[in-house]
């Protein structure tokens, strides 16, 4: 069942059909999918959702495309883990980690790509394309392979090696561009005009793509027993994910799956690319673009398309936004791994380090139910840790060497 009415400009309200359109012809504002929430509310229930697959497609009534055989590698329904040991370190109470490293290609991007390519295929596209900081590249290449579509992925040339390998292995076209992500993105925006028969998931089908991130909110609410958390901490690159997570919670209220409850949404950025955190700190309404320089490459968007909407969602929800140094990012990765057994990429380090900062400042409170989104797997960015993590010691294969090197340390460890 499809409950999409059409597309609507978020700025000027003009209406458009549900085709491959992403910006308003008149004011260039972003187009948003419009749904018939009354009809959805009349049919959707916790039971109808529970009867669906253990993927994002269990929420198909609230997604912009309906298909009995979606382009699907099993994205979504990732673990929501109670994180008591991390909470104790940070002085927090009820803390949960949404472990989106568990997606098929290791990041939340599988959610948005599964939606985007399912819609693209319905619209008749045979080529999937994107501008990517890496995680999207991995996911587009994989899902295109699964769907039998050609893929053309454009990335900045300085990406982490694993992200390049994890894209190229699927056999599509991978174009490394000499420049930043913002340069790649501008090129793709121009290419979209020249190649209208290609589905650029985050350009001409971005309207549908972005909706996939709502499933993070849907899953968190369902996994908490159809309860909204008090506070969610979300990393910010383009700002789309944060905006859609906030929208996801409000939609659940609209269709009657949640009692009305305010969810505070806070944003996390790296200091080397913090246009949204800077605007938040300055009380500014405009986002000033920056030239990124941080190890958190998946968040390195200096000119964030949804930056303004993310800022607005943070402010309206009573949330906060902060930025952390690269050293703090590495500490965040280590802290999450050491306390909860979850290995996150640098973006996850940004989220955890920002959570720590906001907990210390009192912006995230001990009496809140808090969820932190950890959106990408650590194997994607191992180079970031290569100077800080390694064998505890290297020894010859002898008991004497072992005892000399570690014996006393291990006794101390066991006594803890």
């Amino acid at each position: 069942m499809n409950y999409v009415i059409g597309l609507r400009c978020r700025e000027c309200g003009r209406h458009y059909p549900a085709e491959a359109l992403h910006v308003c012809d008149f004011c260039f504002g972003p187009l948003e999918v419009a749904y018939d929430y009354e009809r959805i509310a009349a049919t959707i229930s916790p039971e109808s959702i529970a009867a669906g697959p253990r993927t994002i497609w269990r929420y198909r009534d609230l997604l912009p495309v309906d298909d009995d055989a979606p382009v699907d590698l099993g994205a979504g329904f990732t673990p929501l883990l109670r994180a008591d040991r991390l909470a104790a370190e940070l002085g927090l109470g009820e803390l949960w980690i949404k472990n989106d490293t568990a997606n098929p290609t290791g990041s939340f991007k599988d959610r948005v790509v599964s939606v985007a390519l399912t819609k693209a295929r319905q619209l008749g596209f045979k080529v999937a394309a994107c501008a990517s900081t890496g995680n999207l590249a991995n996911s587009v290449a994989a899902h295109a392979a699964r769907a039998g579509m050609a893929s053309i992925v454009l990335i900045p040339e300085d990406l982490e090696r694993a992200k390049v390998t994890m894209t190229a292995v699927y056999g599509g076209t991978v174009i490394a561009v000499r420049g930043s992500y913002d340069d790649v993105n501008r090129l793709c925006a121009e290419l979209t005009s020249e190649h209208p028969s290609w589905a650029f998931v985050n350009v001409n089908v971005r309207t549908y793509y972005a909706e996939g991130s709502k499933t993070l909110a849907f899953e968190v609410a369902e996994q908490l027993g159809w309860r909204a958390p008090d506070h969610v901490v979300v990393p910010i690159a383009s700002g789309s994910q944060l905006t859609k997570v906030a929208k996801g919670f409000s939609e659940l209220v609209k269709v009657g799956l949640l009692e009305h409850q305010a969810v505070r949404v806070s944003g996390a950025q790296a200091e080397g690319c913090s246009p949204v955190a800077t605007a938040f700190a300055n009380g500014a309404d405009a986002i000033s673009p920056v030239k990124p320089s941080t190890i958190a490459k998946s968040l390195s968007i200096g000119n964030p398309a949804d930056g303004w909407y993310a800022l607005d969602a943070i402010r309206r929800s009573g949330g906060s936004c902060a930025a952390v140094t690269d050293a703090e990012v590495l500490d965040g990765i280590g802290l999450l791994a050491r306390t909860e057994g979850i290995f996150a990429e640098t973006a996850g380090g940004v989220t955890i380090a920002t959570l720590a900062k906001l907990a210390a400042s009192g912006d995230v409170r001990r009496d809140e139910c808090v969820v932190a989104l950890v959106t990408g797997h650590g194997l994607k960015t191992v180079e970031a840790l290569s100077d800080t993590v390694g064998p505890t010691v290297t020894i010859n294969p002898s008991l004497g060497d072992f005892d000399a090197a570690l014996g006393e340390d291990l006794l101390i460890e066991e006594a803890r």
Partner: protein
């Protein structure tokens, strides 16, 4: 002096489908005003009431965002390309 302006799909209804238009102008702003003079309708799409670029319009000169240069005052040289690109993309 003559510069090329690249037009995105959304605005090609104003240029009879052309993706690139030659105009005269010594700054980015002057080039865009000349574009509107030759193809009426551009100004209201690109500029707000205060004459500034709208929030969702990005303009590049030789592949650099003019906000990192001198904005609409950025001087242009003959043969350079100005690109108008919708801001909502990526991520």
């Amino acid at each position: 002096m003559s510069v090329s302006v690249r037009i995105p799909t959304q605005l090609r209804t104003l240029t009879a489908g052309k993706g690139e238009v030659e105009v005269e102008g010594s700054t980015v702003g002057a080039a865009l005003k000349a574009l509107d003079a030759g193809h009426p309708g551009f100004a209201e799409r690109l500029f707000d009431e205060g004459g500034n670029l709208r929030r969702f319009v990005n303009v590049f000169l030789a592949d650099e965002d003019v906000r990192f240069l001198d904005g609409l005052e950025t001087p242009v040289s003959a043969g350079q390309t100005v690109s108008i690109v919708p801001a909502v993309a990526g991520g």
